[in-house]
């Protein structure tokens, strides 16, 4: 199978999560202390790298059919979750992810919190805020990178793609020195949700013993079909919402 979908999906998923992690790191660093913030971020990145280094190779030891069944099922469930949220946000039923709002809330909390030194960490609050933010956002990326990488027998390429996305977002973050509020997060999450769900459908059905017509080429139909279904649901929900709003307006007049 072509490695491009693997590289693109992991890169985009990682970039979106890195933008969210950057917001937390900036809030901790700019309002508290950079040294402890970097320590927290580094500690989280080491934990994430260790998870990839241990779980990645372990997954490749599992035979391909059961691996694809398990990984495919997990990806389908995980992808449905991403897609559901992205559709609800795109249709107006859920608020869009607001990096500036999140940043303002994190800054207010960071200013109000007391610090305190623990061991080699000067500011424990900045350390834990940065550590938790990077670890939690990073776990989603690790999950996607490992499952995608293992199913295609290329965990190394998936890890490289994830690292490249983190680097790009980090460089842009250093240059801009503010939360990356202009990144079209929901559109990117929508795209990642489509890819995760499509590959989840493909691999899990294969793992359960089904054979796709055209083998890997079936993905060329599954991915656009999933996108069309997701766009269709979004349009339907937007229309329903507009009709409900129009009905409510008529009642009040």
């Amino acid at each position: 199978m072509n490695a491009l979908p693997l590289v693109l999906t992991v890169f985009v998923a990682c970039a979106v999560e890195a933008v969210e992690a950057l917001t937390i790191v900036l809030a901790a660093g700019l309002t508290r202390e950079w040294r402890s913030t970097f320590q927290g971020m580094t500690a989280a990145l080491i934990v994430l790298a260790a998870v990839v280094a241990v779980v990645g190779p372990a997954l490749t030891l599992i035979p391909l059919a059961p691996l694809r069944l398990i990984v495919g099922a997990l990806l389908a469930v995980f992808g449905l979750q991403w897609l559901r949220k992205a559709i609800l946000r795109a249709s107006g039923y859920k608020e869009l992810h607001d990096e500036e709002g999140i940043y303002a809330r994190q800054v207010a909390a960071a200013r109000a919190a007391s610090g305190g030194r623990r061991g080699w960490v000067h500011d424990w609050y900045a350390f834990t805020l940065s550590f938790k933010g990077v670890l939690l956002e990073g776990l989603e990326v690790v999950f996607i990178a490992i499952t995608f990488g293992a199913s295609q027998g290329n965990v190394g390429l998936a890890a490289l793609s994830a690292a490249a996305a983190v680097l790009v977002v980090a460089v842009v973050g250093v240059v801009v020195h503010a939360p990356l509020a202009r990144v079209p997060e929901n559109a990117l999450k929508f795209a990642v949700g489509v890819m995760l769900t499509s590959f989840g459908i493909f691999w899990s059905a294969e793992g359960a013993g089904a054979s796709w017509p055209g083998n890997d080429a079936a993905l060329l139909v599954i991915v656009p079909l999933t996108l069309l279904v997701a766009l269709g649901y979004t349009a339907l929900l937007r229309r329903t919402r507009a009709l409900v709003a129009a009905g409510a307006k008529e009642v009040t007049q």
Binding site: L69, A73, L74, A76, V77, F78, L80, Q81, L83, R84, I87, L88, S91, Y93, L139, E140, F143, T197, G200, I201, S204, A205, G207, A208, G209, A210, S211, W212, P213, A218, I222, L225, T226, V229, A230, Y233, L237, T240, R241
Partner: protein, 69 residues
């Protein structure tokens, strides 16, 4: 220890399954039926997963937008 295990399990449940467990249940059920059709009935049921996943997504969205999730 049991409290730690419970929070650990809750974290992974929330991480993978999220707000609506029905999506996960639909995927598991669709896979079980696909395996049965393929291995017991000899039917190459590749079409079942996409149908069930798209239906589960629609069902989940309907529940979320009608306040029943």
């Amino acid at each position: 220890m049991s409290r730690w295990l419970r929070s650990f399990g809750a974290f992974w449940y929330d991480f993978i399954v999220g707000d609506d467990w029905r999506g996960a249940a639909a995927v598991a059920l669709a896979l079980a039926v696909t395996a049965l059709l393929v291995h017991v009935a000899g039917v190459n049921a590749w079409w079942l997963m996409p149908v069930c996943v798209f239906a589960a997504l629609g069902w989940s969205l309907r529940r979320a937008t009608t306040g029943r999730s």
